[in-house]
Symmetry: C2
Subunit: 118 residues, 2 copies
């Protein structure tokens, strides 16, 4: 279990909740205080704060308190990790499908000439 893997765990898990995704969506459009993030959500403020804590633990959100207001902002680096993982998978299966395509085409050519043409 690498550190890499544990971070991915946290990021995927953090995004696996509509309330938390709503917060990320809001923050993608600019920084906001806790109360503004919590207001649209159908839950109490403490519950919303818990979600926020999950996002911060995953590195998706940074926040800073000034006076009595905590302002939150998105931290895009964490998302790029997810993108990289997905891209790696896509590359693997596309390469495989290419090989498969080549193979099928080979079969096809062999069919035309009624045997391999080496």
């Amino acid at each position: 279990m690498t550190n890499q893997s544990i971070e991915l765990d946290r990021v995927f898990r953090a995004l696996a909740d509509p309330a938390r995704r709503a917060m990320v969506e809001r923050l993608s459009r600019g920084p906001a205080p806790v109360s503004e993030l919590a207001r649209p959500l159908p839950m109490s403020l403490p519950s919303a704060m818990q979600h926020l804590a999950v996002l911060e633990a995953a590195g998706l959100v940074r926040s800073e308190k000034v006076g009595r207001v905590r302002t939150c902002a998105i931290a895009p680096e964490a998302l790029s990790q997810v993108e990289q993982w997905i891209n790696a998978r896509r590359i693997e299966w596309e390469r495989r499908l290419d090989r498969l395509g080549d193979y099928l085409q080979t079969l096809d050519s062999e069919g035309e000439s009624n045997g391999p043409r080496d």
Copy 2:
């Protein structure tokens, strides 16, 4: 709570586990029977099957049983949903940062000419 959102929940949640990601990684390289997916994992076969069920419920994996062997394959469509969501967020914050950049440049120009030049 849209259907879209519920699907995203399931996909993110499914990927938030190293055992399940390992299965997806394996299947990206080609189809495999249940036992091959389970073998490298540090858990019993029934536990592995449960993980597999989560992946299937999320639409990330399809499987078909022939004889006594169930062969699993990746279903790439589900992953593209995730990609789309992440891209949408990136577009939002990049647009915002562009606007911010423009604004800062405006301030800069105003500084040079010592006032707005309209």
